[in-house]
């Protein structure tokens, strides 16, 4: 069903027996990732502050900014699903369009809490889960996929608070990758840098300028001529989650329709103020 919904067919079972957590899994890139991981045979736990709209996996209400929520989530997954193999730290917010001049400290801190601290906590707790051995999992192993953004590679794609938070995710992912490698945990960690993806993160923008106009503008900013569908990012997540990417760690994977590839004409979409 889900494969049909996301328009592709895959050999099932590649991830059978494995357990994945996807934060922000109720919508957007998270929902697409959860569906594709489930299609590949993984048992998926969708962790989100909002209830999931469809049934790709077990839903757990979760606040990525709260350490006790992470402790409860991991304890629950290790009891009910018995192991953890894949962590997709996808929950994030755009934090509006604030510039260096218009952003207040409260907005800055809120965006860092969700986008930066949330990913930090996700990595920290996931590692403990992935190290856990048991029946069918004789040793520590896992893959952590952190969703950064093109805003983590260059500016002009979001507010200052968002841009800074995604830069933090990009670099902390490398620290995690190196640390796990040195400790021989067999846990990989990579960052994904999506361009514009047609997800609810743009709801605020659509409200401001209208969906048609906004989407046309964003389509044109990608050399490939269009925004991405969530499924296209889900495919990148799936690849990084699986053993197909077994030698990839600490990498920055841009899936951005070419945005960061060449020289870009900068057109402030909304007033840079």
């Amino acid at each position: 069903m889900r494969a049909a919904r996301y328009g592709h067919v895959r050999m099932s079972g590649e991830l059978s027996g494995q357990v994945a957590i996807v934060t922000g899994g109720a919508s957007g890139i998270g929902a697409a990732s959860a569906a594709l991981l489930a299609d590949a045979g993984a048992t998926v736990v969708v962790a989100d502050v909002n209830a999931a709209k469809d049934g790709a996996g077990r839903f757990v209400k979760h606040d990525a900014t709260a350490e006790d929520s992470w402790q409860a989530l991991l304890a629950d997954v290790l009891v009910r699903e018995g192991r953890l193999d894949i962590m997709v730290n996808n929950a994030g917010i755009s934090g509006g369009t604030g510039s260096v001049e218009s952003t207040d400290v409260e907005t800055w801190q809120h965006v860092q809490m969700v986008n930066s601290e949330g990913v930090f906590l996700g990595c920290k707790h996931a590692i403990q889960g992935m190290k856990r051995t048991g029946p069918g999992k004789p040793r520590s192993k896992g893959s952590i996929v952190n969703i950064s953004s093109v805003a983590g590679l260059q500016a002009g794609a979001g507010s200052i608070a968002y841009t800074a938070s995604k830069g933090a995710v990009r670099l902390l992912s490398k620290s995690v990758a190196l640390y796990c490698a040195e400790r021989k945990y067999d846990i990989r960690c990579n960052s994904v840098h999506p361009g514009g993806v047609d997800t609810p993160i743009f709801d605020l923008l659509w409200q401001m300028v209208g969906r048609e106009q906004g989407k046309a503008f964003l389509d044109a900013r990608h050399p490939i001529g269009r925004m991405a569908e969530p499924r296209e990012l889900g495919e990148v997540v799936l690849w990084l989650a699986s053993d197909r990417s077994s030698f990839v760690t600490g990498a920055e994977i841009a899936a951005d329709g070419g945005i960061t590839t060449g020289l870009m004409r900068r057109q402030p979409f909304v007033s840079p103020r």
Partner: protein
């Protein structure tokens, strides 16, 4: 020497390390330096040593009101603001497994939020000064080689310096789009012989001293000196770099080569 003639530069972390070395160079090159630091004793002593071209203000970089006061004091003392160096920062060793949420937030507040607030507080005054100054304003943010590459035992620090690297680009684009005549660049030092890394020099790594281990990390075979980074910062603060904005300037003895 007058590569910074009549330019007023506000330096966070100006009491020691890269900030202090830059303040010395600013004054030597004909500019005015305002040393902003939490360490009042050291900051006042250096300002006194540098004479009429220098002034000290107390500053906690995570406090927006303190930043606004520092900028106001700078304009009151020297009549304008042309340059900002965000050099205040903390270097902390921790990994993804042993870093607490409180420590992650503390490091990111000082290095990330502190740099953001410095830019935010300075832009209004810098805009005014840039209107009457051909070369305009220049903001220099100290990131690190660890804003370019990862390190297993600098998790929170890596995150904070990655944030600085990217927020710098935002500030550069914003000021360019608003036609403020203000540039903004990041500097990425390797390990520089400053108080920040002093604790590490005494900690042996295997059979090497901490200092030797860090020295040999750099292809050039030694630690950097604060005045070597200050020389790069001086270039960025001066009109010599007038077409550079939103860029990453690396000063690392070949570490990331």
């Amino acid at each position: 020497m007058s590569r910074l003639a009549d330019k007023v530069v506000l330096v966070s972390g100006g009491a020691s390390g890269i900030g202090a070395a830059t303040a010395r160079l600013v004054v030597r090159e004909g500019g005015k330096a305002v040393l902003a630091d939490r360490d009042e004793a050291k900051g006042r002593a250096l300002a006194g040593e540098l004479g009429d071209g220098a002034h000290f203000v107390a500053l906690d970089v995570t406090d927006e009101a303190a930043w606004n006061k520092a900028v106001a004091a700078t304009v009151e003392k020297f009549g304008g603001l042309h340059g900002l160096l965000n050099a205040a920062g903390v270097g902390v060793r921790n990994s993804i497994e042993d870093c607490t949420l409180a420590e992650y937030r503390r490091v990111n507040d000082i290095n990330g939020l502190g740099t953001f607030l410095g830019c935010k507080a300075s832009i209004p005054a810098m805009k005014q000064s840039a209107m009457t100054h051909v070369g305009g304003g220049s903001i220099v943010n100290i990131s690190s080689v660890l804003g370019l590459r990862g390190a297993s035992y600098a998790m929170a620090y890596c995150a904070s310096k990655g944030a600085v690297r990217l927020l710098t680009k935002h500030v550069a684009l914003h000021c360019a789009q608003m036609k403020y005549n203000i540039r903004c660049n990041s500097v990425h030092p390797g390990y520089i012989d400053t108080p920040m890394i002093a604790p590490r020099l005494d900690q042996p790594v295997g059979n090497m001293s901490g200092r030797q281990w860090l020295e040999e990390l750099h292809p050039i075979g030694r630690l950097g000196r604060a005045d070597e980074v200050a020389a790069m910062i001086l270039f960025l603060l001066s009109d010599e770099s007038s077409f550079s904005t939103g860029s990453e300037f690396v000063c690392d003895g070949g570490l990331t080569a």
